[in-house]
């Protein structure tokens, strides 16, 4: 039963992923991304990571994709023409390389983990309490560092979003 559900979700995730890459319209890309994120959120629940599933929905679907959509709408008209064929050769090489990459990674994964390795995780391993506990005890350092990172992001946003005012003496070439 879970396997069938997983297969279904996997298909949606793949479709979303392909949609991001192949859509001509950036809005469609963003919506496909949403589809991809949402299906992965559900997979998290299947993998006993309830907390992450919720966060995934809130952060990715709720914040990130919305932000993307917002920017797409804002600058929508300014996106240059999508020229077909001008980079066919590069694209073919790129896809070839990507396939090679996939093969190598999958091979290494499959070589080491025997097919159908069974997870040992407890059903409530990913509860809010368990993850919160881990974050505040064993993983306090990266958690605190992440707060520092958010500070950097905030400062960066302020710097980049503020309207640029050249100085008066700018005219002196």
């Amino acid at each position: 039963m879970t396997l069938i559900l997983f297969a279904f979700l996997a298909l949606i995730a793949l479709a979303g992923g392909l949609g991001v890459v192949l859509s001509r319209n950036p809005v469609h890309s963003a919506l496909s991304l949403l589809l991809n994120f949402a299906s992965i959120a559900v997979i998290y629940f299947l993998l006993h990571a309830q907390f992450l599933g919720v966060v995934q929905v809130i952060v990715y679907a709720g914040a990130i994709v919305v932000l993307f959509l917002f920017v797409v709408m804002l600058i929508g008209g300014n996106i240059g023409p999508y020229r077909h064929g001008s980079r066919t050769v590069t694209s073919v090489i790129a896809v070839g390389l990507a396939a090679a990459f996939l093969a190598l990674v999958v091979w290494s994964v499959v070589q080491v983990l025997p097919m159908s390795a069974t997870p040992v995780g407890a059903p409530d391993a990913g509860s809010v309490q368990a993850v919160g506990m881990a974050l505040y005890t064993d993983y306090l350092v990266p958690f605190e560092l992440a707060s520092l990172l958010l500070l950097v992001g905030m400062l960066g946003g302020v710097v980049l979003a503020r309207r640029y005012q050249p100085f008066a003496e700018d005219e002196t070439q």
């Binding site: 070589q111 306090l140 990266p142 710097v159 050249p166 070439q173």
Partner: protein, 487 residues
């Protein structure tokens, strides 16, 4: 629930810099009605500089003490303390360069210095991380801060373009980095380097994880073929930022790379060969491309790619000799490279809507105009070229020596051929400075400010002193390397 015991003395220097960053950030609100002015900017810069000096003192005070750690995630050993010193040195020199450079193009002084200090913190944490999640977050702190600093010159299209390229490619390679970390986690069930060292299977999963981590490191270190962003970003970014990141990022990434590779010691035979090939490719590519550059910053960018290649020789050579050689080289590189960038920043024409690049021609006849400055620049360039008895020479000597001692003779020879090739483009600039007359293409920003002058003086004294005291200094670093290799 018991909160973990945390030994804050492990991260004293970092805490000092973080506190300074917060103070600098809040300085924005003190007297907010006052218009931004150079004086105000200098005051902020002074606070930041004091913070860096204090942090350096804290790092020095810790030297020689036994290694302590926080939950096995951050470690304070001598290797980490020397790394902090390199990063703080580079940061202080870069800050002195920004002193008068910054007010030329922006009013957001406290934001600049706060981001700058946070990038410093990221680098310091990165070099002290012994756990992959911590390592990754530190890496991101410095990366994101540097993306913004690169694009800080808002009026200039080149800066924006550089920031965009740096950001897109940086995020792209970060994805590979965490994928690698995830695979290593899959292999061992832990993200602690100690556990990875103990449990790594040495099989394909280990190798794949290591390879993908190397991609992330390779990107930060500007290793060919992950280097393509480097010339564009170094050229587009404000020169003080370029000077700082060319040294600081490399230092942090190299030390972190050593820590990761020590954990992956099982497969030394594999990764050392891979690194040797990368080193060869990187040195050669960087030096060849540098030959044809007309922009000084771009030339130094390609030269920094080549130097990353030289340092990779040290990484290939392994934990003890190689590590001390790389540490030595990082110090030498901090002095000579930032020194060179400092002089370059004086050759840039002010201008806000084009790339305000210093071309090689700007250096024409510098000797006739400012003999002392030309001599100093020549010292930096000759040191970069590896001419004895300057710091760069000993740096290369130790690197090649380490390679030879550990059996990588061909690699040392490749390195030597490369330094011969590189002499050409460094000398080309030197010749232009000394042997041509100034003409309309030459330029010099004047007057030379005290801060820039101080930075240049410190860099020059360092370049000379490291040459003279090469032996004793290397022994110091060697002890740190020995302690690390033995741990």
């Amino acid at each position: 629930m018991n909160l973990p015991h945390i030994d804050f003395s492990v991260i004293t220097p970092e805490l000092i810099v973080i506190a300074t960053a917060l103070v600098v950030m809040l300085a924005e609100f003190v007297g907010a009605h006052a218009t931004p002015s150079p004086t105000r900017s200098h005051r902020i810069a002074l606070i930041a500089l004091l913070g860096l000096v204090l942090a350096a003192l804290a790092a020095v005070a810790g030297l020689g003490r036994a290694a302590t750690d926080i939950q096995g995630m951050l470690v304070a050993d001598d290797l980490g303390r020397y790394l902090e010193l390199v990063v703080l040195l580079a940061a202080a020199l870069g800050l002195l360069l920004a002193w008068d450079y910054l007010p030329q193009f922006t009013k957001m002084h406290s934001e600049y210095y706060a981001l700058y200090l946070l990038a410093v913190v990221g680098m310091m944490f990165m070099g002290k991380s012994t756990e992959l999640i911590t390592l990754f977050v530190s890496l991101e702190i410095l990366s994101v801060a540097l993306y913004v600093l690169t694009g800080f010159h808002r009026g200039q299209l080149a800066a924006g373009e550089a920031a965009l390229k740096y950001f897109l490619l940086g995020a792209f390679s970060s994805a590979f980095f965490i994928y690698g970390a995830a695979l290593l986690y899959g292999d061992t069930g832990s993200t602690h380097l100690v556990d990875i060292a103990a449990r790594a299977s040495g099989g394909f999963l280990t190798l794949a994880g290591l390879a993908l981590l190397l991609v992330g490191f390779g990107f930060k270190l500007a290793v060919v073929p992950f280097h393509m962003w480097t010339p564009d970003v170094y050229q587009g970014a404000p020169t003080p930022v370029t000077a700082f990141m060319s040294v600081g990022t490399k230092a942090a990434a190299f030390v972190a790379l050593f820590r990761v590779l020590q954990a992956a010691g099982v497969s030394y035979a594999t990764w050392s060969l891979v690194l040797a090939l990368l080193a060869t490719l990187t040195m050669t590519w960087g030096n060849l491309a540098a030959l044809r550059q007309s922009s000084l910053k771009r030339m130094l960018a390609y030269s920094s790619i080549a130097h990353a290649g030289y340092m990779l020789i040290g990484v290939t050579a392994g934990m003890q000799l190689g590590l001390s050689a790389v540490l030595f080289y990082l110090f030498a590189y901090a002095f000579m490279n930032i020194g060179a960038f400092a002089v370059v920043s004086l050759l840039e024409r002010p201008g806000y809507h084009a790339t305000q690049d210093a071309t090689i021609d700007a250096a024409r006849g510098l000797f006739a105009r400012k003999p002392l400055l030309a001599v100093v620049m020549a010292i930096f360039l000759l040191s970069l070229a590896g001419v004895p008895p300057l710091a760069g020479f000993f740096g290369k000597l130790y690197l090649f020596n380490a390679a030879v001692q550990s059996g990588w003779i061909w690699l040392a020879i490749v390195g030597m051929i490369n330094s011969v090739v590189s002499a050409y483009y460094y000398l080309r600039v030197t010749v232009l400075m000394f042997m041509t007359e100034a003409d309309e293409t030459s330029f010099l920003r004047s007057p030379l400010s005290n801060a820039t002058g101080l930075a240049i003086a410190v860099a020059m004294v360092g370049t000379l002193l490291l040459g003279i005291f090469a032996g004793p200094w290397l022994q110091q670093l060697g002890q740190a390397a020995l302690a690390f290799a033995g741990s």
